[in-house]
């Protein structure tokens, strides 16, 4: 099996995540899709680390996890705030700002 | 600091001082503005006296580094062409100030602001004609729009804001195209002789044909809009209708000259080859302008619109003369710029007084003014006659020179152009008949004639119109060497008369 398969998988997962952001309305699910994209990127990093024979990719993946964790905290805080004011977690409801 | 810079800076200084006068003291503001502008006019006459007619290089030059990173200098200097246009501006401004004493009273902003704007504009006008640095020219060229924009928008009549926007957008559009060309020229200069904006150095560039054509067009469209040349003219009637008479005088009398001045100074001097390429096209546009403007003028119901369209016709003549590339055409066009400035000033100022008295600008609202207000009527008549280029009045000499100069190279254009002479009779005499002649229309019986202030304001203009008609030599002497130089540098020589071949 070629290592490249991991990259295909990564690309597919990334695509799914990217589209998930577009099609799902629940803001938490949308956010989860973004997490999926980050994970896909991490998979690519790990795979490339293996190909390149150095650990930089893994380090990046590690950083990504930390950053993602922070992002999750902030993101969920914002989502909860919105939820408290609007009683809704749908991203479509937050569409007053337009045009 | 050269005298030229001083002349240019004086109005700005005046504007600063006016700012210190309390808002309420409007009379003092006006008087001070008059004083300053008169001083500028006197100072500029000293420029003319000190000007050496025998050389064609720039005089009263001054150059200080401004933006060293781009090798931009505050470089000014004048030759004959710029000198006469500066004189035109500086002489017109005090006349406008005096003539339109009450113009600023009902404006959106204070009287003080009006005169501050006028004075700033005067500096810009002098600057734009004096700049010998391309970048500096552009700065004045564009920055000049702002005071005019506010003058139209702040003190004009109905539709002023729409007209002001139209004016500004048109000019900005042209200006931006020119900016692209300026950048091009600058970059090319950087590749060839070291980046510079100095006009004399830029004139030595060797640019390949296609690029030169594009660069030329950038400049030309900007100037054609400014001038205005058909079909870039539609802003002018609107602006002239909306602006106060005083502003219109400066707009038509001076600002539009920047367009034709630019054609000489930049289009031809920087891009002689491209000028040659585009000459037939431009001559065609000019001829269309002449005829088109005249026909449109005949159809106008509004007196300001009429004057605006006559100007379009006249600018057609000026452009035609410039691109005829003969010394007669070139000098004629230069002279025409000056003469048109004064003729239009007279027409517009008097029309302004008429309109202020009648509170209308519709031609058919007037009638029989010759009975009621003879002095005003006569002044208007004389200004009108100058507008139709009656021999003995200023415009004739220049119009004839343009036609003769054009004929020797482009006879067909000149022949069509002469049709403008007939149409001129129509577009001037029809309104004159409607306003001055015929029975006194109701509402005009009590109209008052010109007061002393107005008489003092208009007298010098009329005098200049008459004197320039009979004795244009002093001005031609200033213009001739430069225009000969321009034509020669562009690679043209005057066609030789048949019998001398």
């Amino acid at each position: 099996m070629a290592v490249a398969n991991y990259l295909y998988l990564s690309a597919i997962l990334f695509t799914i995540g990217a589209i998930g952001v577009v099609v799902r309305r629940n803001s938490i699910v949308v956010f989860m899709c973004i997490e999926l994209m980050l994970n896909a990127a991490n998979l690519a990093f790990v795979t490339f680390a293996r190909i390149n024979g150095n650990l930089e990719g893994q380090v990046v993946a590690f950083f990504t996890m930390v950053v993602a964790a922070c992002e999750v905290v902030v993101g969920l805080a914002i989502i909860v705030t919105i939820y408290r004011s609007r009683r809704s977690a749908s991203v479509d409801d937050a569409s007053l700002l337009k045009r | 600091m050269s005298l030229l810079t001083l002349v240019g800076a004086l109005p700005l200084l005046g504007a600063a001082l006016i700012y210190l006068i309390p808002n309420k003291n409007t009379e003092l503001v006006k008087k001070f503005a008059l004083l300053v502008t008169t001083l500028v006019a006197v100072a500029s006459i000293f420029l003319a006296i000190g000007f050496d007619k025998s050389v064609t290089t720039m005089q009263f030059t001054q150059s200080n580094s401004w933006i060293s990173a781009f090798n931009i200098n505050f470089a000014v200097g004048i030759d004959g062409i710029s000198l006469v246009l500066i004189l035109l501006s500086t002489i017109l401004v005090p006349i406008v100030v005096l003539a339109t004493w009450h113009e600023s009273d009902g404006g959106r902003w204070s009287v003080k602001t009006f005169y501050v704007l006028i004075l700033i504009l005067e500096t810009m006008m002098i600057g734009v004609f004096a700049a010998t640095d391309l970048f500096l020219f552009y700065v004045f060229f564009e920055a000049m729009l702002i005071p005019v924009y506010f003058l139209i928008g702040g003190y004009g009549s109905a539709n002023r804001s729409a007209a002001a926007v139209k004016f500004l957008l048109y000019s900005l559009f042209g200006g931006l195209l020119m900016l692209a060309s300026i950048i091009g020229v600058y970059v090319i200069s950087g590749n060839q002789i070291g980046a510079t904006f100095d006009l004399t150095q830029l004139a030595t560039l060797e640019i390949d044909n296609q690029t030169e054509n594009f660069l030329f067009l950038g400049f030309f469209i900007a100037f054609a809009i400014k001038a205005p040349l058909w079909p870039f003219h539609t802003w002018l009637p609107d602006a002239a209708k909306a602006a106060t008479p005083g502003t219109s005088v400066l707009l038509l009398g001076v600002l539009d000259k920047v367009g034709t001045y630019g054609m000489i100074r930049f289009c031809i001097e920087l891009f002689p080859d491209a000028s040659k390429t585009f000459t037939p096209l431009i001559i065609t546009l000019a001829v269309i302008s002449i005829i088109y403007g005249a026909f449109m003028a005949i159809g106008q119901k509004d007196i300001k619109g009429l004057i605006a369209f006559t100007s379009i016709s006249h600018f057609g003549f000026i452009t035609m003369g410039i691109f005829a590339m003969t010394t007669q055409g070139m000098s004629g066009s230069n002279l025409y710029m000056v003469n048109h400035g004064f003729s239009t000033a007279a027409l517009f100022l008097i029309a302004g007084w008429m309109m202020a008295r009648r509170n209308s600008s519709i031609i058919s609202d007037f009638g029989g003014l010759q009975r009621v207000t003879p002095v005003m009527a006569w002044s208007f008549f004389i200004a009108g006659l100058s507008g139709l280029a009656l021999p003995g009045l200023a415009s004739f000499v220049s119009e004839f020179l343009v036609l003769v100069g054009t004929y020797t190279r482009y006879p067909v254009a000149a022949i069509i152009g002469t049709l403008g002479i007939i149409l001129a009779a129509l577009y001037i005499l029809i309104p004159i008949q409607k306003t001055l002649h015929g029975p006194v229309t109701p509402g005009n019986e009590k109209m008052t004639d010109l007061n002393l202030r107005e008489k003092i304001a208009i007298a010098p203009v009329i005098a200049i119109i008459v004197v320039m008609g009979f004795y244009p030599k002093p001005v031609l002497d200033l213009i001739n060497p430069t225009s000969e130089k321009v034509v020669t540098n562009a690679g043209f020589t005057d066609p030789v008369a048949e019998v001398n071949k």
Partner: protein
């Protein structure tokens, strides 16, 4: 065993000072009484920024690629960009200090009793200051970061506080929270793209350092490089609001508290462009022929779309948002130019644009009615009559945006288009010029509304600005004016500082 890495603390000190101040701010938040917190926080912020500026001045002639073990390059351009961020932040912090714009209690549900009580008690979310400082720190790091991970971390460090800050408006909180949500979701989305791209760059080059990427040319075919460039660019183009990654900009600019919008519009642009310039000038310079057409197209689209859509805007903040999109397009010409001139022009442009933007948003913050800021353009009608000074200043700023000569905006535009033309990219110059013409239309429209239309009988008024706002707006305006009339100083500096080292 590991050997301890040595850090160039002097070179890093500006950033460290800001981060440290932020941490101190957090401590203040925790231990200081409510009454003096705001003042203390402001003092800390200003102090830290000034100190950072002083440090930047001290290291202005130094440069090093190893200040932080190869992950940060301190060089001339980097220092200039950092200084720009700090100076703009200094002006912005004075606007931010005006607590009137921020919610009294972010956690309170809008319209609830709790909120009313908080308002009554004049509570303040002084956490804004540390958040702001963290953002500034991130923005300082972003343009000097020279490997992909530091870039990513810096990106997040300045983005996260901004996401939060965007949601803290005092009035129209629903809009503000919506802005925060949109900014956050889309920002995170863009980060994911960035990261994915970074992975491929790493795959291509075997390293994540920019120098390594540019040195790796030929070690593989360009497919991974291109994927990497594209996706990394998407992340950065999002931050600078280039089309088609711009959609967040108008919504967020409109919804966020105005001082934050000001800060965001000015500083984010500097930081993001700084990074973009560094990445393209150092990391992707070898692949120039591949990305240049793409970025050119994006730049043209950005200028045109930003200008065209701005015409149709009714809200002044949204209008400026679109204007900022258009300006991003202009600035991209500097990236495309890929020359020292282009870099210098970009540096100048960023400073000039930042100042103008800050002042403009500062003024927007002053136009209010009883319910708070009024951003509806129809209600700005006749403002010039009510407050000539504010009207004139705003008009001047708009003219500067429009790039009328004698304003800094014009010099910037001239410089950047010259550089683009010099690099042979004439299409971008012509489109830029045409877009400028379109753009002029809406700037002028606003000037008309302010000056040439009679005020409607509506209780919009210009509040008398606090001393802080006054200082902030006037400093920004005067600086913008000076850089327009006598741009030499800044231009020369920008030219002198226009070097990236590898």
């Amino acid at each position: 065993m590991l050997t301890a890495p040595s850090l160039g603390y002097l070179l890093l000190s500006p950033m460290i000072i800001v981060f440290a101040a932020a941490v101190i701010g957090v401590l203040v938040e925790a231990f200081m009484g409510k009454t003096h917190r705001a003042a203390a926080q402001l003092t800390i912020s200003i102090g830290a920024l000034l100190l950072a500026l002083v440090q930047l001045w001290r290291i202005r002639d130094l440069s090093s690629t190893t200040a932080a073990v190869n992950s940060v390059t301190i060089d001339k351009a980097g220092i200039f960009l950092q200084a720009t961020v700090v100076i703009l932040a200094l002006i912005a912090v004075l606007l931010i200090a005006d607590q009137e714009n921020f919610t009294a209690q972010a956690s309170a549900v809008p319209g609830s009793n709790e909120e009313a009580v908080a308002l009554l008690q004049k509570n303040q979310q002084t956490e804004i200051f540390p958040l702001f400082l963290f953002a500034v720190g991130g923005m300082m790091l972003f343009p000097v970061a020279t490997d992909l991970i530091t870039l990513f971390v810096a990106l997040e460090v300045f983005s996260l506080p901004l996401y939060l800050l965007a949601g803290l408006s005092r009035r129209r909180r629903l809009l503000s929270q919506e802005a925060a949500l949109k900014y956050f979701l889309l920002g995170a989305y863009a980060s994911a793209f960035f990261l994915f791209g970074a992975a491929f760059l790493y795959g291509y080059a075997g390293t994540i350092s920019l120098v390594g990427i540019s040195a790796a040319a030929g070690s593989a075919n360009e497919v991974f490089l291109l994927i990497g460039i594209i996706f990394v660019s998407i992340g950065l183009l999002f931050k600078i609001s280039a089309v088609p990654f711009h959609s967040w900009t108008p919504d967020v600019y409109q919804g966020a508290p105005t001082p934050i919008t000001a800060f965001m519009a000015a500083c984010t642009k500097v930081a993001a462009f700084g990074a973009l310039l560094r990445i393209f000038y150092i990391g992707f310079a070898e692949a120039q022929t591949m990305w240049q057409p793409i970025i050119t197209v994006i730049a043209i689209l950005t200028m045109v779309l930003g200008s065209v859509v701005a015409i149709a805007q009714r809200d002044v903040k949204r209008m400026l948002a679109y204007s900022s999109i258009a300006h991003a397009g202009f600035l991209l010409s500097g990236v495309v130019a890929l020359s020292k001139d282009g870099l210098a022009a970009s540096l100048f442009y960023l400073m000039a644009y930042g100042l103008t933007t800050l002042a403009a948003f500062g003024i927007i913050g002053l136009v209010r009615d009883s319910t708070g800021e009024v951003t509806d353009l129809n209600r700005w009608v006749g403002l010039g009559k009510k407050s000539p000074l504010v009207g004139s200043v705003f008009a001047f700023l708009l003219l500067s945006f429009a790039g009328i000569p004698l304003t800094s905006g014009f010099i910037g535009k001239f410089a950047i288009f010259s550089a683009a033309y010099q690099s042979g990219n004439i299409a971008i110059v012509v489109s830029g010029v045409l877009a400028s013409a379109i753009a002029a239309f809406f700037y002028i429209r606003v000037i008309i509304m302010i000056f040439f239309t009679d005020p409607v009988n509506d209780s919009v008024s210009v509040i008398i600005p606090s001393v802080k706002s006054k200082i902030s707006i006037s400093v920004a305006t005067v600086a913008s004016m000076v850089f327009g009339l006598a741009p030499s100083l800044l231009l020369t500096t920008a030219t002198n500082f226009a070097t990236f080292i590898k």
